[in-house]
């Protein structure tokens, strides 16, 4: 199918894969399987002892334990935010497991060869290769050669622990540190101390504060000055155990003049109970450095009747600390029962820039409240927001965003395009932008539209012989094109297929 002859055709070929995916994927959520594996759980609930226990399991130094306890004490005084357009039954935070580790991970495997084959098999089944000769999924299963020979280093996080990280030696040669955050706390305390919580403070918001207290693992990346990371880095998050919250913490530091592209994927088994995922991602970008952060979020969205699914409450923020620092967030949000997520950019350095590209699809009973904040503090800063929301079934999909031009952010620019597509008359699409401009040399432009899938477009496709679901997938992918193009190629393909799968059952 994807025998691709030259570059420009690749983009055309990508759309084709969407249609193939519709036809080839029988099950709606193909990542819904469960791995039968023996687990160690910490007792249910959260209190200071649990916080200490998580810290002890990770063999953390005292300063880290104290940091967590401080966060926990703050969290106890906080209340859950209510402003988002999402509704869900009250979460009993004492009825969750905060730490779940496969028994086989009790002793840290020395290398990937020592990892429990069941775990390796799980990732293989998910299309995430933990063997270094393989490349990331997305093109897997497609005939012909991969798009290019790009390799991707993977950190695989299974419930509360990192299972393994690939390509570490090769990355180390370039001076790049890529490891689990628990390891970084032990091995690189100075870096962690300096940057952890410096972008998302301990008490930033209810979920971030909870995360600060109980995060168990996640990824850590440090790119040294003037270094282009030799390959793409990725973390693959898997929630497996029942009644378990996943609280991962990611910290990426791009030192002066460096560059890294980072990918993040997420899945979970099908269950009829809801599960909590509250992550924090902090990006620190120094002078002339650049981070591209791409997410394909495909947590289990719940079934057609709204049973089960992940509550996805995530705080992601990038701090462009140095002049000319750049960050680009790209997200494809197709999963989760409830999404609450606003990857943001603090444009502190002069001439720094932030971009946010988002596709959020909500079908059945899903609820998504997602968007971004662009906080312009430095001079000549630029930001761009492209958000494409798709609502189907009985889903509610909200774009929420802030563009703020501070008095000192002279000569800055923002452009926002925010489009919503409605499929069916039982769903909702909402747009809640905040625009705050406090100097007159800056310019802000915001545009938003809401409409349904055009009947004439559907008929035109069908007159040419394309069936209804494929036609819809084609049109929706066209609607979201600008965002898909912002993704790395491997992810773009996976994302296009996901768009099609996520919309299954929304027509007719």
């Amino acid at each position: 199918m994807s025998t691709i002859t030259d570059k420009p055709q690749v983009k055309d070929g990508v759309d084709q894969d969407t249609v193939d995916a519709v036809q080839s994927v029988g099950d709606k959520y193909k990542y819904g399987f469960e791995t039968d594996i023996e687990m160690d759980f910490a007792p249910k609930g959260v209190n200071e002892d649990i916080v200490r226990l998580i810290s002890a399991k990770n063999e953390e130094p005292e300063w880290m334990t104290d940091w967590r306890l401080d966060a926990f004490r703050r969290w106890q005084a906080m209340v859950e935010p209510e402003w988002a357009m999402v509704h869900y039954p009250e979460i009993d935070f004492q009825d969750l497991y905060y730490y779940a580790r496969p028994k086989s991970m009790a002793v840290k495997p020395k290398s990937l060869d020592d990892v429990d084959p069941k775990l390796l098999a799980t990732y293989e089944k998910l299309g995430i290769p933990l063997k270094e000769q393989m490349i990331l999924a997305g093109v897997e299963g497609a005939e012909g050669a991969p798009v290019d020979g790009r390799r991707v280093a993977v950190d695989a996080v299974f419930d509360s622990v990192s299972v393994g990280t690939t390509f570490r030696d090769e990355l180390a040669k370039a001076g790049v540190i890529f490891c689990s955050i628990s390891e970084a706390i032990r091995e690189y305390p100075d870096l962690v101390k300096k940057y952890l919580g410096s972008v998302v403070p301990q008490s930033d918001n209810f979920y971030a504060t909870l995360n600060s207290a109980v995060f168990s693992d996640g990824s850590f990346v440090y790119i040294p000055p003037n270094t282009k990371c030799p390959m793409e880095l990725s973390t693959y998050f898997r929630i497996n155990a029942e009644n378990t919250g996943q609280f991962e913490r990611t910290l990426i530091i791009a030192d002066k003049g460096s560059y890294v592209s980072y990918l993040e994927g997420c899945t979970a088994p099908k269950r009829d109970t809801n599960q909590l995922h509250a992550a924090v991602v902090e990006l620190v970008i120094l002078e002339d450095a650049e981070i591209k952060y791409s997410t394909v979020q495909n947590w289990f969205p719940g079934d057609e009747n709204g049973m089960g699914g992940i509550y996805n409450f995530v705080t992601k923020r990038a701090d462009c600390r140095g002049d000319r620092a750049k960050v680009m967030w790209t997200q494809v949000e197709t999963g989760s029962a409830v999404t609450w997520k606003y990857p943001s950019c603090i444009l502190r350095g002069d001439d720094s820039s932030g971009e946010f590209y988002s596709i959020a699809i909500a079908n059945n009973y899903q609820q998504a409240d997602t968007g971004t904040k662009m906080v312009h503090l430095g001079k000549n800063t630029k930001s761009r927001i492209v958000s494409k929301g798709i609502s189907a079934g009985r889903a509610q999909n909200t774009y929420r965003g802030l563009v703020s031009m501070h008095p000192k952010a002279k000569n800055s620019r923002n452009y926002t395009q925010c489009d919503s597509l409605l499929i069916g008359d039982k769903c909702g699409a909402h747009t809640v932008p905040y625009i705050e401009v406090r100097n007159n040399s800056s310019r802000v432009e915001h545009e938003a539209t809401t409409s349904k899938v055009d009947d004439d477009q559907l008929f035109y496709c069908r007159q040419r012989g394309i069936d209804e679901e494929a036609a819809l997938a084609l049109i929706v992918n066209g609607f979201a094109k600008e965002v898909l193009q912002a993704l790395p190629m491997e992810f773009a393909m996976e994302a296009q297929a996901l768009v099609a799968i996520s919309l299954e059952g929304s027509v007719g």
Binding site: S2, Y460, R462, Q463, R464, G465, I466, E468, L474, G478
Partner: protein, 252 residues
């Protein structure tokens, strides 16, 4: 090939009859033209045959090679070999022209139980066909009809027709909005597809298109049915005298 018998059609929303006993037969390999004043139901006929929503068939039949068209979904009709060249081709932002066509070609092949075209084969064929219609490679990469001029859109319709190789082609005012050169190009494209088996139904207001695409039979449609049929001379008569005489004659 195409057989329409006493077809009655109303608008779904308004309870208004548009086609009132339309009967028409287009044998294999023939080119038939339909002319008629505005509002006579020509475009409605093309939409009803291809399965567009918003119309209700209240009586009559329409078959393609003996198969009932009216029960089928639009994409099934397309796979059965019916092609409509739209009067106003639809723009689909973000969807590459090439992707669109490849999806359509392979969906149809699949529906007919044929093997899908490989990317390489597809590319080869489309480049060839595009060339003869003076459609450059750049236009193939642009989103479907988005930002196309009127002439480009119509040429794109003919390119799709050439790629999909239908049995029965309906051209709905394909000449509207075309200058003389573009009309020649489009007509040449259509004529190249005439192979003695494929049938055409050409809806037009003007004789000039029929100078290029020579019809076997010309029908005059008025108030939802065919009121007169004849040879190519009938089109000339309309061109010179308008519809008034014919309609008066029919009414008498």
């Amino acid at each position: 090939m195409l057989n329409i018998n006493n077809l009655h059609v109303e608008l779904e929303d308004e309870d208004k009859a548009i086609l009132k006993g339309l009967s028409l037969t287009v044998p294999a390999g023939e080119v038939h033209a339909i002319m008629g004043p505005n509002g006579s139901g020509k475009s409605t006929m093309s939409y009803v045959l291809s399965g567009k929503g918003g119309y209700e068939v209240t009586g009559g039949t329409a078959t393609l090679d003996g198969v009932n068209l009216l029960d089928m979904e639009p994409d099934e009709r397309a796979a059965a070999g019916l092609f409509l060249a739209f009067q106003y081709p639809v723009e689909i932002p973000g969807v590459g022209n090439m992707t669109f066509l490849r999806t359509a070609v392979n969906c149809q092949r699949k529906a007919r139980g044929e093997e899908e075209l490989s990317a390489a084969d597809f590319l080869k064929i489309i480049r060839e066909k595009a060339k003869s219609l003076k459609i450059d490679a750049e236009m193939l990469k642009r989103p479907v009809n988005v930002g196309f001029s009127g002439g480009e859109k119509k040429r794109n319709e003919i390119l799709q027709m050439a790629m999909l190789e239908p049995k029965m082609c309906i051209l709905d005012e394909t000449d509207s909005g075309l200058d003389v050169d573009a009309m020649k190009l489009v007509s040449d494209g259509v004529n190249a597809l005439r192979d003695g088996k494929r049938s055409f139904l050409v809806i037009t207001h003007y004789q000039r298109l029929l100078d290029h695409i020579k019809p076997d039979v010309v029908h005059i449609m008025a108030d939802g049915r065919i009121v007169k049929s004849g040879g190519p001379d009938l089109a000339l008569e309309v061109e010179h005298n308008g519809y008034a005489d014919i309609l008066a004659e029919v009414a008498a």
